[in-house]
């Protein structure tokens, strides 16, 4: 986790430096706002990874000498075939089209979105272990 933390922190701090230079040199506040937000997009994930780095057990994928046998147990649950991402996508599509063609597509799209989002959540309970 150390490298993951450092690359995010590195980007965040670099952009923070750029922000500081830009702030005092350009005195243009639109750019400063965007740069400051970008620095946050580097530093916030870095803090998350840094927080976990201290709390999690050392992982075999961070060890140069780990063997395949060192990792026991399932990697995670991976769902098999499911139609709901497609339905969710169509819901988003029709909801988006309502911005162009009027509210009636939102009725269909919104219904699909709610239905698919609920189904996809319920389905998570049935996800198999690989």
């Amino acid at each position: 986790m150390k490298v993951e933390y450092r690359i995010y922190m590195g980007i965040g701090i670099f952009v923070l430096l750029v922000t500081t230079v830009y702030f005092f040199w350009a005195k243009e506040y639109g750019g400063v706002t965007m740069l400051f937000g970008t620095a946050g997009l580097g530093i916030m994930p870095a803090l998350y990874f840094g927080w976990w780095r201290k709390r999690m057990d050392p992982r075999p994928e961070d060890s140069e000498t780990a063997t395949l046998a060192e990792s026991k147990g399932a990697i995670g649950a991976f769902p098999s075939n499911t139609i709901w991402p497609f339905v969710l996508g169509m819901g988003a599509f029709l909801s988006g089209l309502s911005l162009v063609f009027g509210e009636w597509t939102l009725v269909i799209g919104g219904a699909l979105l709610i239905f698919a989002a609920a189904s996809v959540t319920l389905e998570s309970r049935r996800g198999g272990v690989i």
Binding site: V3, Y22, S63, A74
Partner: protein
């Protein structure tokens, strides 16, 4: 993480092998699969179809510019064509082809993972991408036509009074949908690379392609939300009477340029970095050497990502509202890590036992075009030059050499390199080489004259020019080149057709590859691996196949020519 044997036992208990016997096929597989390999391939083929459509638009554009005062298409149609050509190539081909197609398929294989971290989110991104593309194209079927304000959609051209009708709104919705698709894919890629690596595969043993995809993902997460926000503001301006980008209500049109290019410049690297990753995979394999300066390449990629956030206003030098020395200096600085990359690639080839197969030819075509585009990019980073050639064909030639150089030459290099892994079949080498030479000659012939056209002052995005402009011959050369490039894609389609109808089995590892994707069968089984080699360096498969030359024994960078090994 489980080792492979356990994984198989588990999947048998849970009945996880649906794909292999009696699972869904055809359209039903396409609609329901959460397998990263199926989604990756769908992404790739969809993006290539979008590329062919946008390429056909480019042919129309070039046909219109063949002679002075041509009237093959109307002015309005011309505007629609270059807008949708640019939008599709950038938002629907170059990006999704790489981070949706290649990365989706290859990244989990390269790190020894069974799938992406969020398979259903992955499927959702694909559907948002497809519907985004359909939305953008459907603009042509509305009464007012498609969006016609260029892929950058500058205010006030994109305001409701200047661009009325449903087409521009469809364009906005399309960008929002593909934007979300990109964001979801980026989350997926980063999480997969951070959390699903095989044991012993530390960050500094990751293949360069995977590294580049991590950095691309970080850039997507930085850039795309700003684009989506800008789209919402633009929509509010158009329909809710907001005044973000109109002077009359106290807004500022230049604000649009700031927002757009704060997305747009990182976007250029989002499009380029994955292809740099592909090139960094192909060169070592076909030179039979480890990559020269692994860490240098990684830090160069990170440096490009960092710098790319501070250069957005070099697209806006001529607005007169930006701090020229700051943006010029940062833009020039980007040449340093990019130069490091180019020299690293050359140094990897240096002294290697290079095999000029189709993927390697495309890489060399990439190097040639990209360096040309890069050098003119350094020129454009200097405000005095930019003032002279801003919005002329010089800029058009520059960014086509950079972007098409990476996305087409880098992209097809990766396509041919991984085609045996994707399908288990081999393409026809002679047709691949023919496609390369047609594309390379055609492409150079298209864009070198455009530098001169630009220097003679022809502005971009104009449908007609006069005889007295003295650009007729150069434009004709450019058109010939464009049609030659177009014909090269027909050769590619023929190649694909032959390899589909008369398959030649490729084998699991036809190139003597270095990284884990070649350690599994072609195409890989459901959940990817039956067994993994031990990982002791950045080239685990090379170590397993050539134990006497393994990287962890021999830290040098020398190549291992085929003959020497055969003698042993």
């Amino acid at each position: 993480m489980t080792i492979a044997e356990e994984r198989n036992d588990l999947s048998n208990e849970e009945g996880g092998h649906e794909h292999e016997h009696g699972g869904p096929r055809g359209i039903y597989l396409w609609l329901t699969s959460t397998d990263h390999k199926v989604i990756g391939k769908s992404y790739m083929y969809t993006a290539l179809i979008f590329m062919l459509i946008a390429g056909a638009m480019a042919m129309l554009i070039r046909a219109q510019l063949t002679g002075p005062n041509n009237h093959i298409v109307s002015q309005q149609t011309y505007n629609e064509l270059f807008t949708i050509h640019g939008s599709m190539m950038l938002y629907l081909f170059a990006g999704p082809f790489a981070f949706g197609g290649f990365a989706n398929y290859i990244l989990p294989l390269q790190i020894g993972a069974p799938d992406m971290a969020f398979p259903r989110l992955n499927a959702l991104s694909y559907w948002l991408f497809v519907t985004g593309g359909i939305t953008m194209l459907s603009g042509f079927f509305t009464s007012g036509g498609a969006a016609a304000f260029g892929w950058v959609s500058y205010a006030p051209l994109s305001s409701y009074s200047n661009a009325p009708g449903a087409g521009p709104d469809l364009w906005i919705v399309a960008i929002a949908l593909t934007g979300f698709s990109g964001i979801f894919t980026a989350v997926n890629l980063i999480t997969t690379a951070f959390y699903l690596r095989a044991p012993g595969l530390t960050m500094f043993r990751l293949p360069i392609f995977t590294w580049n995809m991590i950095v691309t993902g970080m850039l997507i997460l930085i850039a795309f939300p700003i684009l989506t926000a800008a789209m919402i503001m633009l929509y509010a301006d158009r329909h809710f009477g907001a005044h973000f980008f109109t002077v009359s209500g106290g807004g500022s049109p230049v604000m649009w340029q700031n927002l757009f290019w704060f997305f747009g410049h990182p976007e250029v690297y989002i499009l380029a970095l994955p292809y740099f990753g592909i090139v960094s995979e192909v060169i070592p394999v076909f030179s039979r050497k480890p990559i020269f300066g692994y860490k240098g390449l990684v830090f160069a990629t990170l440096a490009i990502a960092g710098l790319s956030t501070g250069v957005w206003a070099h697209h806006m030098f001529t607005t007169g509202t930006v701090l020229l020395p700051f943006f010029s200096a940062l833009s020039l600085l980007i040449a340093v890590p990019t130069g490091v990359k180019v020299f690293t690639w050359i140094a990897t080839m240096w002294g290697g036992d290079i095999e000029f197969k189709t993927p390697m030819l495309f890489v060399i075509g990439f190097l040639f075009t990209f360096v040309m585009g890069g050098v003119t990019g350094v020129m454009l980073a200097a405000p005095p030059i930019d003032f002279a050639v801003h919005d002329t064909y010089f800029v058009v030639a520059h960014f086509h050499q950079v972007l098409a150089g990476t996305a087409v030459f880098g992209g097809f290099s990766g396509f041919f390199y991984w085609y045996p892994k994707l399908t288990g079949r081999m393409y026809r080498e002679s047709l691949g080489k023919l496609q390369f030479w047609m594309a390379f000659v055609g492409f150079s012939l298209t864009f070198f004259p455009q530098y001169l056209i630009g220097l003679r002052g022809m502005p971009r995005r104009v449908p007609v020019y006069l005889v007295s402009d003295h650009v007729t011959f150069l434009n004709q050369l450019s058109t010939v080149g464009a049609f030659l490039t177009g014909a090269s894609f027909i050769v590619w389609l023929i190649n694909m057709w032959i390899s589909w109808k008369k398959p030649v089995a490729a084998g699991d590892n036809p190139w003597d590859g270095h990284t884990l994707e070649w350690a599994t069968s072609s195409p890989p089984p459901h959940h990817n691996f039956v067994s993994l080699p031990p990982i002791r360096s950045a080239r685990p498969l090379w170590d397993a196949n050539h134990p006497e030359h393994a990287d962890y024994k021999n830290q040098g960078h020398g190549s291992v020519p085929r003959e020497r090994e055969e003698q042993k």
